[in-house]
Every structure is written in structure tokens, then in C-alpha cells.
């Protein structure tokens, strides 16, 4: 059984979280993600969960830390400067191997920046702002439907690998309304024998902790975590690759801008320029191998981001100098048009850029 509903991206992710068995949501108001705490304040209790509007983003992520330590599926959400504040908590969640989902609806920066859509938080999401050796899986949906599917998946991945997972959308997707197919879904909840849920009468006591004063001990913990990362890199990478043999250009974009790129590709086709889209769905793990194995017909790669160029560094690492890489971006909340991208791509194709 499934039903089709018209939903805003932000609200659809909430619905997905509740479907996925999220029992705790902690948030703090910040534009453009306010529909998330609003939706959760209305629906968490009826689904047997808890909602707290925290006093800050820092408190919210630490509430997630507490709820996750206790073994329940927990989520927080915020936008760029708020995600910056959560970084300490994210590092602690990683350091204590706690699962949770963080929805990041990004806006222009740096500083207070603006409230319009941006992708300038690619580094913040994939490189982390917290201290220490770590990565977290980052999903970048490009439609409301996909934001539902990937939010559900994020809870599964978080529990499976005991890691925070981020769903990164730009403000555009958060605010956009689209029809969504809601399928029947029953979450599979796994045992969490490590949880500090006050059940030490029935097992040995549990400790949730990221402190290790012994250097060798901490190294060992980090090495073990990176073994887990190896597994994630091997199995969890997601990418949508439309580049066909014969295409002379690959255009790379993630999130909603990838849809603008698809329109640009249509314009280019009318001009006789064959281009294909590559859309990384997981930003970490990044689909490097896709870029290492492009058809030989590809003469140029154009990376399009709503930023000054951040993902382009990963594209470079994937391409490893085999193809020339070009960039087109708008920043500060300005969204590029298909025509702008087509114009840039045509210049690149002519060898002019």
C-alpha cells in the first residue's frame, strides 16, 4: 500500500523520520528549516516520541547524544550557522560511536550569511567542523521523494554503523513542494546492547565515552573506526551517472542544482553538444571511482555548485588529471539558471573557458 501526497521537503523529511522510528527530535529555530521543528512539535508525541525545543543548537545536539546513548533513534536539524554550532556534539557522537540523523538545510554564508539556498556547506558536511579523525555519511537528495527515501535510509545506516548520518539539502529543497509517494514501511530496529539505558540490573554496566587518556588506546579506537569507514566506502556509495559513451562533457552537480543542470543539458543537446549529468548522492563516501572511469569521449568536466566550488576538490581527486575540470557556481543564495550553465558549458566545449 502506498499513498501519494503533496509535501514540502522539510515536512517530508519529518514524516520519513517518524516512519523510520525516530523517537526523539530536538531542535532550535533557524531559517530555512523551521518547518522541521514545527512539524515535529505537532507529530512526535502522537507517534510515541519526544520533542524538545532546545535552548540552542548546542543543547539540541547534546540532547540527541543523550537519547542516542539511551538507544533510541534520534534526530536534530538545523541550517548552516546552526550546524556549525553542532560540530562539537557531532564529534562527540562519533567519538562515542552513537547513531543519529542530522538534517542540514543549508543557506548562504559565511557568518550569519543569508537565508537563501546555498551549497557552501559541502566542506562543513563532508570534512566535519568537529575535532578529530572522522567522517560521517552524508546524503544529498535532489527531490522531495528522494529526501524521504534517504532520510529513512539514514536511520538504518546510522544504526548499522553506529555513526551520525547527515541529510544535506539546500534551502530550495527544504521549501519546495512536490508529490511524494509514501510507501508502507516498517523499521527494522536492531539490538543495541551497548546502550546506557539504565538496565544494568540485567547486564554488565555500559559506558558511553569518547575519552581515552592512553595514546595507544585512542589510536586503536580510531583504527577500528576507520575499519568501519572502509566498509562504508566499499558498500554505501551512491551516485547517479547519466554520462554515456559518446558524451563529450560530464556535468557534475548534487542536490536540487542537479535538476537545473538537467535542463541545461537539454539546451546543450539542441546545440549539438552531448553532455551527461553525474550526481553524487552520497557526498561521503564520494563516488570517486565514477570519475576515474569516464568514457574516453568525455573531453571536459564541468562542476556546478551553489558555492565558490567545494565539491570540485573531490571531483579533482576522482578524475586524477585525466580530464580538464571547469567550474560554474553562484553563491550567497543566488541560484543559477539552466541558460547560464548551458552558456558556460558551450564555452567550455568550444575550448574557450
Amino acid at each position: 500500500m502506498s499513498k501519494k501526497v503533496l509535501m514540502k521537503g522539510n515536512e517530508a523529511m519529518c514524516l520519513a523520520a517518524i516512519m523510520a522510528g525516530c523517537k526523539a527530535y530536538f531542535g532550535y529555530p533557524i531559517t530555512p528549516q523551521n518547518e522541521i521543528p514545527e512539524y515535529m512539535s505537532q507529530h512526535m508525541e502522537e507517534s510515541g516520541g519526544v520533542f524538545i525545543q532546545a535552548e540552542s543548537e548546542i543543547a539540541a545536539i547534546n540532547m540527541v547524544y543523550g537519547a542516542a546513548a539511551g538507544g533510541v533513534r534520534a534526530m536534530t536539524s538545523s541550517s548552516s550557522p546552526g550546524i556549525a554550532l553542532k560540530q562539537e556534539g557531532i564529534s562527540y557522537l562519533v567519538g562515542s560511536d552513537l547513531p543519529c540523523v542530522i538534517v542540514s538545510v543549508s543557506r548562504g554564508g559565511p557568518g550569519l550569511g543569508g537565508i537563501l539556498p546555498s551549497q557552501a556547506d559541502y566542506f562543513q558536511s563532508t570534512r566535519g567542523g568537529g575535532n578529530g579523525d572522522y567522517y560521517i555519511p552524508v546524503y544529498a537528495p535532489s527531490s522531495v521523494q528522494e529526501s524521504v527515501d534517504l532520510t529513512i535510509k539514514s536511520f538504518e545506516i546510522a544504526d548499522k554503523y553506529r555513526t551520525p548520518v547527515m541529510v544535506l539539502v539546500d534551502g530550495l529543497l527544504g521549501q519546495m513542494m512536490e508529490p511524494v509517494e509514501i510507501k508502507d514501511y516498517k523499521p527494522t530496529l536492531i539490538e543495541k546492547p551497548w546502550a546506557t539505558n539504565g538496565d544494568s540490573g540485567r547486564r554488565k554496566r555500559n559506558i558511553v565515552n569518547s575519552l581515552s587518556l592512553n595514546a595507544e588506546g585512542l589510536e586503536e579506537t580510531n583504527l577500528r573506526r576507520f575499519e568501519k569507514y572502509k566498509e562504508i566506502l566499499k558498500t554505501e556509495e551512491m551516485v547517479e551517472n547519466h554520462v554515456k559513451d559518446g558524451d563529450e562533457m560530464a556535468i557534475v552537480a548534487y542536490g536540487t542544482p542537479s535538476r537545473i543542470v538537467l535542463n541545461a543539458i537539454d539546451i546543450l543537446a539542441e546545440q549539438g553538444i552531448k553532455a551527461g549529468l553525474i550526481r553524487p548522492v552520497t557526498l561521503w563516501p564520494f563516488p570517486y571511482s565514477t570519475f576515474a572511469n569516464l568514457p574516453s569521449s568525455v573531453k571536459n568536466i564541468l562542476v556546478c555548485e551553489l558555492s565558490m566550488g567545494q565539491m570540485i576538490e573531490d571531483v579533482r581527486q576522482g578524475v586524477q588529471g585525466k580530464h580538464p575540470i571547469h567550474f560554474y557556481g553562484r553563491t550567497g543564495g543566488v541560484i543559477f539558471s539552466p541558460e547560464e550553465i548551458a552558456k558556460k558549458a558551450a564555452e567550455v566545449a568550444k575550448g574557450g573557458a
Binding site: K23, A24, F26, V50, I52, A54, E55, S56, I58, A59, A60, N62, M63, V64, Y65, G66, A67, A68, A69, G70, V72, A74, E88, G89, Y92, S96, T196, N197, G198, D199, S200, G201, R202, R205, N206, I207, V208, N209, S210, L211
Partner: protein
């Protein structure tokens, strides 16, 4: 037949404590542990200790434990307790933690009336990092970052946490006690027991502030540090119940 007058509580593990000789953290740990055993809730308790001297408290309390980031324990407690309402949750925080970096979290946990217990250990100094000035450091008191004595013109007048938090309407119970002699230690235990009992009854936010010592930080002997609590701290931080909903 011999009767046990005093023995180590099973609420504590066998791990030797790393606290400095004569540090009253050890006494306070014992009071909390004994209380949890006497109330028969040890096995359903989760202790949360953030950064500071008591960062290793998870090694000592014989129950589930969470180590939290500096100042954030009350937020962690909120998230945990709301999702495990039938369990006992307490934070164990020093004054550098609770009264400085963690002011936002403690104020709002109290403001929300979270049904948790806060064990607030106030020794008027940062112990772990080497005896720096805390918001609770007494006026004119010398520390490693107030070498000429705490100047109120630049650093303000020491913060009175119990008085401040007791103003919040959602708070159920706040008492300030001391650890400088046996009679006061016994009274401290009574207060701790009351706080946890209130939590078991679902009355809301409870906090016990324990005046404690840091003889290394003060540069005196352990015994002299007890006199410091009695003669210097208590006159500025009066003992007593600041809020009690009963």
C-alpha cells in the same frame, strides 16, 4: 556478631580513584553511590559526567555512565531522561563546568523542569586544568589566572548558582550543603537522598550544590582546605534549602 558500621558502597566500582589526596570528590562520589544503593535504584541509574576533574566518574559509579562534553551534561540528561522516563538520571558537574561553559544548559534544564538530579560540586576553582579562576572563585582569591587575587572590577562578584537557579519556577528542589566535616557530610547525604527521592516521585528538576575543596588548587593541605570551606566559602555561599516544592 560484628556489625558493619562503615564500608565501601557497592555503588562504586573497585577502580582506585585518580583524584588528588584529600579531594572531597571522593566523599561526594560515596554519598551518591550509597544513596543509589539505599534507594535501590543503582541498576536503573545513568550517571552523566562532563569534562573536569570528574571526567573519569564513569570509571567509579557502578551503573550505566555517559561522558559528556564540557558543560553540556544537563542537555544530555534531558535527551536521555525524556526517552527513558522511568530511569534515574543524574549529572555530576563541577563549578568550572556548570557555572561557566555550561550555564546555558543548566539554566534551561532547570527552566524546563527536567526530572533529573544535578550533583553540583563547587570548589571555587578549576581543578583539572591546574587551578584557574572559576566564576565561583571568591573575591580576592588567588588562582593561576588571578595571580593578584580575583578582582571584582574585571571579573565580577562570584556567581551564586543555587540562589540563581532557585528563582526558576519549574525547579523542585535546590539545597546547598558542605563536605568540610562529618556532620555536614551526613547532612549532604540527606540532601542527595531527598533530591533522588524527588526524582523518583517525578517532581522535576533537583540540584544539590556541595561545597567542596581543591587543596592542590588552593596550595594548602587537605585538612586546611576543609577550613577554607568552613571559614571562607560558607560565609559567602550560605548553606540551606533554596527551593523545595514539598
Amino acid at each position: 556478631m560484628s556489625k558493619v558500621v562503615y564500608e565501601k558502597s557497592r555503588g562504586l566500582t573497585d577502580v582506585p580513584m585518580f583524584y588528588c589526596p584529600g579531594c572531597t570528590h571522593g566523599i561526594i562520589h560515596k554519598l551518591v553511590a550509597e544513596t543509589l544503593v539505599e534507594l535501590d535504584v543503582l541498576e536503573k541509574t545513568i550517571a552523566i559526567a562532563p569534562v573536569g576533574c570528574s571526567v573519569l566518574a564513569y570509571e567509579y559509579f557502578n551503573c550505566d555512565c555517559i561522558q559528556a562534553s564540557h558543560g553540556r551534561a544537563p542537555a544530555v540528561a534531558s535527551g536521555l531522561k525524556r526517552t527513558n522516563p522511568d530511569k534515574i538520571v543524574f549529572t555530576y558537574q563541577g563549578d568550572g563546568d556548570l557555572a561557566a561553559i555550561g550555564t546555558s544548559e543548566i539554566v534551561h534544564s532547570a527552566h524546563r523542569g527536567d526530572n533529573v538530579t544535578v550533583i553540583f560540586v563547587n570548589n571555587a576553582i578549576y581543578g583539572m586544568t591546574g587551578g584557574q579562576m572559576a566564576p565561583t572563585t571568591l573575591t580576592d582569591m588567588k588562582t593561576s589566572t588571578s595571580p593578584f587575587g580575583r578582582g571584582t572590577a574585571s571579573s565580577g562578584i562570584p556567581i551564586k548558582v543555587s540562589e540563581m537557579l532557585s528563582q526558576l519556577p519549574s525547579v523542585a528542589y535546590i539545597e546547598r550543603v558542605s563536605t568540610h566535616d562529618v556532620a555536614h557530610v551526613r547532612a549532604a547525604k540527606k540532601a542527595i537522598k531527598k533530591a533522588f527521592t524527588y526524582q523518583m516521585e517525578g517532581r522535576g528538576f533537583t540540584m544539590v550544590e556541595l561545597l567542596s575543596s581543591c587543596n592542590i588548587g588552593y596550595g594548602v593541605s587537605p585538612v586546611e582546605s576543609l577550613s577554607f570551606i568552613k571559614d571562607a566559602m560558607i560565609p559567602y555561599y550560605p548553606l540551606g534549602i533554596y527551593k523545595d516544592v514539598s
